[in-house]
């Protein structure tokens, strides 16, 4: 295990998740997305053609727990970030068949209805810090504020695509979109 640790090269551009992405990731875990979607692109041409750059060990150092998955009932999601606009994800989670006709993915309408619970966000940040995730000192206190700001941006992105909903920036779907759009983007050449 220690040898594994030494074997994992740190990649300078790989940064910890933002509080909103972290909460989105926990919803991804809660809904069991990992049962059907891997986040591990193997170094084969058939996979890099389909999904993008193959996955590097250094990209996962802030993943607690890891979400590589073991089955692809749906496609791999490690490079899903930035592939579609925010509104695509919004519509897709509400009704997958609206974006991909024939899809067998279940709909997730409650993500659009339920407010995101941020009461544990500071505690999560503090524990991650104690485990070595390099958030700045005292970041836990600022985390919810940062989370709200990022959520507002995503909500206004959605508004540009004519998606309007009361109280949209406080919904769980916003966190999920933030997480999905972040996935695999750290080592992308911009």
């Amino acid at each position: 295990m220690m040898m594994i640790d030494e074997n994992v090269p740190k990649i300078a551009s790989v940064k910890p998740y933002t509080p909103l992405e972290l909460e989105g990731r926990d919803i991804y875990i809660r809904e069991g997305c990992v049962n059907c979607h891997s986040q591990m692109i193997r170094p084969f041409r058939s996979e890099t053609e389909r999904y993008g750059e193959y996955s590097k060990s250094g990209e996962f150092i802030y993943d607690r727990p890891f979400l590589w998955g073991s089955k692809r009932t749906g496609p791999d999601l490690h490079r899903i970030g930035g592939k579609y606009p925010d509104s695509w994800h919004y519509n897709h989670m509400l009704d997958p068949t609206s974006m991909s006709p024939g899809s067998i993915m279940p709909p997730y309408p409650w993500l659009l209805e339920d407010d995101l619970n941020t009461s544990y966000t500071p505690a999560k940040i503090r524990i991650l810090q104690s485990l070595g995730t390099p958030y700045p000192d005292g970041y836990a206190e600022k985390a919810v504020e940062d989370l709200k700001n990022q959520a507002k941006k995503i909500a206004s992105n959605l508004a540009k695509d004519k998606i309007k909903q009361d109280n949209l920036e406080n919904k769980e779907i916003i966190a999920v979109i933030a997480y999905l759009q972040r996935l695999g983007t750290d080592i992308k050449v911009k």
């Binding site: 979400l67 991909s100 997730y108």
Partner: protein, 513 residues
Amino acid sequence: MANLETFSYDNKVVRNFAYATIIFGVIGMLVGITAALQLVYPSLNFGLAETSFGRIRPLHTNAVIFAFVGNGIFTCVYYSLQRLLKTRMYSDVLSSIHFWGWQIIILAAAITLPLGMTSSHEYAELIWPIDIAIAIVWIVFGINMFGTLIKRREQHIYVAIWFYIATWITVTVLHIFNNIQIPVSMSYAVNAFAGVQDALVQWWYGHNAVAFFLTTPYLGLMYYFLPKAANRPVYSYKLSIIHFWSLIFLYIWAGPHHLLYTSLPDWAQSLGTVFSIMLIAPSWGGMLNGLLTLRGVWDKVRTDPILKFFVIAVTAYGMATLEGPLLSVKSLNAITHYTDWTVAHVHIGALGWNGMLTFGMLYWLLPRIYGTKLYSVKLANTHFWIGTLGILFYAIPLYWAGWTQSLMWKQFTPDGLLQYGNFLETVTQILPMYLIRAIGGTIYFIGVIVMIYNLYKTVQSGHLIANQEASAPALEKYIPEKNEHWHRWIERKPIQMLFWSAIVILIGGIIYL
């Protein structure tokens, strides 16, 4: 000759575990059929969080592994341990705590998983308070087992019990290390390990959950029930020694074969492959020792449905343990990984090995603890054929689906573009196979219903012998025979068995950790 002592076996705890096995078998399989149908008809997710596939699937795997097979292990361990050691269980109170504790844990799992409370580690999804409860109940089971071993009247510890001991110690170690978390709330905790390390620990656990929860205890049970049902001694004592030690030693190393071609360092992947290939030998050692025990009584297999169940179970074990190492070869894994091939593979193990062995054992022991005969041998035969047919209808379409999908994922056009660039095409192509798989699962389930009717009628025709009288001479001080096999020294003492098993599994475990 020492005085003959009379005592009684506790059959009530065996009966309770047997009923729990049947009830949770039904639930686990129904949830499985639901999940299988959801893949074909997404409307069966009902648009509700609690019934969506992502939450139902872990409910199915946990129900089958820990509720159905788990209770199956305990049923048959409690039955065979008392009889092999010629004593009652160490403590009725501990037996009772174990039984009710385990059922409460299952209930808690059945509530928390649909609510989305999960740690997301495959086959270890349960949240930390339940993890702690599992550890406590498991230790209660251990105390009860070792207490029984200490007050035994039989000097020699039979091979079945070696497997029980190895199971107990290994599951304890695995469960603790894979669930190291820092709690945030009652239902949420942050994982101590991250990324690649977490993946390695998870599959070290995940593979050995298969090895030490679904395999070694069931091998132990096979060593008790197969010779009993066939009325023949075990084929080879030496083979059982060799395959026992090599199996538990090698299994611990095999986990990384779940992570081939991932970001796990190559040397760790290769190590996993090498040990997985080596596992063929001890696995087949177990299969052959089981099948060769039937030498000279194969005519009985034609008439006795219990032996039929055992033969299919052991054969499925042999097939699955040959297939497993083959899937650990990188070039084959590149094709099958992430596809339904894996799902078919584990169901050969679950439906074939665990399921069929459990059914055979239930048919064998329930009439005995109810002091009666099986209601209908014909219905048991019917169950056998329905079950076998169910396995075939389940597995063949899924192997087909896995292979088809993998070929489609990798197919390029002559221009060098992906032929099936839209992932969805590769899904809709295999939906008919998914439907046949769901039908196969349903056929297998119908077999279980037939069994329940048969066992219900059996139980009705008898009365539970809650405390079964038995007698045996007290344990005398042991005087080793001349020319005794050296391994007898380990077999005489349960603590030595525990110690050496622990050493053997920790060598691999510690190196990985």
